[in-house]
């Protein structure tokens, strides 16, 4: 059964928890109390709802993808998170956390970013609400997502390159955590996914569940048979899945198979990993027998992460959702498919979900499939062009 909230120790079953340096523990306790208070406070909820409506542009529509449906032979609905301000679902969480940071009296926020979408969303929220903002980004990701670097800088955010490790999302999280250990008294860490120590996985899920709650309200009696979302850390997926879990709907998370599962160069932590502890939480990880965490690989910077949110680990073990994977090459086909049939260029991350429904068309015949189109692909155009040449 899905859990309304994790237990007192921040666990979803055997996953989650709070494996953090002592220096951060009081801040995590403070954050948990502040979030509980804010979430139960109609004034905070009212402020957030107004911003989601008038600034972000919610509710995002559900679009009947008729030409794609005709081509695949089954009905496809798209939840249009790509239409949210800044171009992805990340803004739902960023704006809520920055609002919470302001309520907590923290003048500065920091964030990690992979594809740059969470960084842009946090930079945007910080500009809107008047907080100082620093974003940590791996140098490899700075290279492949330079457009988003400029966007953050235009918004008044400092982008700090991370050179440790492979220079991707995992390293950016490490560096943001390290900053936070030193600045915790004046800084809130706006983590970008349902990962990290308790209360982050729970809090970020609550901030992203607007995707699924809205979808249920928009669909009414017309419920889908299958709901599909891509999974890196897993915030768009859990935001969509959580309200649907327990309704007898097939929930499918799509991880990055990278260059192919068999090559070992992928990001399929649920499919191929084993339980361990990374970034403060117990979850499925790509790791060796000694517990050294391995580098993930994906064409999409947002799925290039060797861990996953602990609630997904819990959903997988309980069979509340199932998790599949799609390779880099397949995701590029997904981009083309949606661009040419519906006039929508999806983010490389979201293209993994599109590609999976095309690949699984056989088993999906006669069904209604709702895909969470978590972000738009403007940021990826240059990278896609290079991958194709």
């Amino acid at each position: 059964m899905k859990l309304e909230r994790p237990d007192a120790r921040g666990r979803f079953g055997e996953f989650g928890g709070r494996f953090a340096p002592e220096t951060l523990m009081p801040a995590l306790e403070e954050l948990e109390h502040a979030f509980e208070g804010a979430w139960a406070d109609p004034a905070f909820r009212g402020d957030l709802d107004r911003l989601l409506k008038d600034f972000v542009g919610r509710p995002t529509p559900i679009f009947e993808a008729e030409r794609l449906s005709a081509q695949l032979g089954f009905r496809v609905l798209l939840k249009r998170e790509d239409l949210a301000h800044t171009g992805a679902h990340k803004i739902n969480n960023a704006i809520a956390q920055v609002l919470l940071a302001r309520r907590m009296g923290k003048p500065r926020v920091i964030a990690e970013t992979g594809a740059g979408q969470h960084g842009v969303a946090t930079a945007t929220a910080a500009a809107l609400l008047g907080l100082e903002c620093d974003v940590f980004m791996g140098e490899k990701d700075i290279e492949r997502q330079s457009l988003n670097v400029y966007r953050m800088q235009m918004l008044g955010t400092r982008v700090i390159p991370v050179t440790s490790g492979a220079g991707t999302l995992k390293d950016a999280v490490n560096e943001a955590m390290r900053d936070w250990v030193g600045t915790v008294e004046t800084t809130h860490y706006v983590i970008g996914s349902v990962v990290g120590p308790h209360p982050f996985p729970w809090m970020v899920r609550e901030f992203q569940r607007v995707i699924g709650d809205e979808s249920l309200a928009q669909l009414g009696e017309d419920l889908p048979d299958v709901v599909v979302a891509c999974v890196g850390g897993g915030s768009n997926a859990i935001g969509m899945f959580y309200p649907f879990a327990g309704l007898g709907i097939d929930l499918v998370g799509v991880e990055a198979a990278g260059e192919g599962i068999e090559t070992g160069r992928h990001g399929a932590s649920l499919g191929e990993g084993s339980p361990g502890i990374l970034h403060g939480t117990r979850t499925y990880l790509l790791q060796d027998a000694d517990g050294q965490v391995q580098e993930a690989h994906s064409i999409s910077a947002g799925l290039d992460y060797p861990g996953v949110g602990p609630e997904h680990a819990y959903f997988q073990d309980l069979g509340l959702a199932r998790y599949v994977s799609i390779t880099d090459d397949e995701s590029l086909e997904g981009v083309s498919l949606l661009a040419r049939t519906e006039g929508i260029i999806p983010a490389l991350e979201s293209a993994h979900a599109i590609s999976w429904i095309a690949k699984a068309a056989g088993e999906l015949q006669g069904k209604t499939v709702l895909v969470n189109l978590s972000g738009r692909g403007d940021k990826d155009v240059q990278q896609i062009a290079e991958a194709r040449s």
């Binding site: 494996f19 953090a20 002592e22 220096t23 009081p26 440790s164 502890i277 050294q292």
Partner: protein
């Protein structure tokens, strides 16, 4: 009881009214072949015991110097087994107590009991896990203590009085007082928070207190020495091991540095 060696060492320092010097060094530096010799040189220069770092891929409590040390050791093939072997040989050769420091995932993947048993087999006295707060420490602390080793718990400048009381009630073999906010690394200016934290801890317990994080010069060590049973110096030493051009130079440089810290204490 390996933890006993640590307790005896602290008792001896209290008896002669001095402060223990516990150098931190990543296992496998300057290279695996010279690691033990480098620890021996530090022992000869006046170290009272060691914190031996078992490298981990994602050390989020560590600054750039110890990150680099860990990455270099991992690249040289030093994992848990090699790290424990180095610690064991250091203990056997120097007769000094040593703790191992690592991160939770390394312990959990080995299995807490298996990890503790292997550490005990190598003569290790205690275990420090940088991302293991009191709330998550239960199973690992129990396993470590079952094997006769001591578990270390942290207290930081941000730790509230209520948390501090719970940490003390758990009876760690010593309290690692986090001398400064932030990750490990050298600081130009001594922490303004260390003295206050030491005083707060001393007020509530007689459990040995060892201060570390950001103590990078003999002067900084001396400033906190009077308030603590021991001082951990890490990044300032690891930097010397990384900067040295040859293993011989690293060994000499570390001996000199430890002698300077010893003199200041």
């Amino acid at each position: 009881m390996s933890a006993e060696r640590l307790r005896l060492m602290f008792a001896a320092r209290r008896a002669d009214n001095s402060t223990a010097l516990l150098p931190f060094m990543t296992a496998g530096l300057p290279d695996p072949g010279h690691a033990v010799e480098m620890f021996e040189a530090m022992a000869g220069a006046g170290a009272d015991g060691f914190e031996v770092g078992i490298p981990y891929s994602d050390p989020l409590m560590d600054g750039p110097i110890i990150q680099e040390g860990g990455a270099r050791a991992l690249a040289a093939g030093v994992g848990l087994e090699e790290g424990l072997e180095i610690a064991g040989r250091v203990i056997a050769r120097t007769g000094l107590p040593a703790l191992v420091m690592t991160y939770a995932n390394v312990v959990v993947q080995a299995g807490p009991d298996e990890f503790a048993r292997r550490a005990a087999d190598h003569g290790v006295s205690g275990v420090i896990v940088a991302d293991l707060p009191l709330e998550e420490a239960g199973p690992i602390k129990a396993a470590v203590e079952r094997a006769g080793l001591g578990m270390v718990l942290f207290a930081a400048p941000t730790t509230t009085e209520a948390r501090l009381r719970r940490i003390v009630e758990a009876e760690p073999v010593f309290i690692y007082g986090v001398a400064d906010l932030g990750v490990t690394g050298e600081r130009k200016i001594a922490s303004s928070r260390a003295g206050e934290l030491a005083r707060r801890i001393r007020e509530v317990t007689g459990i040995p207190l060892v201060m570390g994080v950001g103590i990078s010069t003999p002067e900084q060590a001396a400033a906190i020495a009077g308030s603590a049973d021991g001082v951990i110096v890490g990044s300032a030493l690891v930097r010397r091991a990384l900067e040295a051009q040859t293993p011989t130079e690293a060994i000499a440089s570390l001996a000199t540095a430890v002698r300077e810290f010893r003199a200041a204490l």
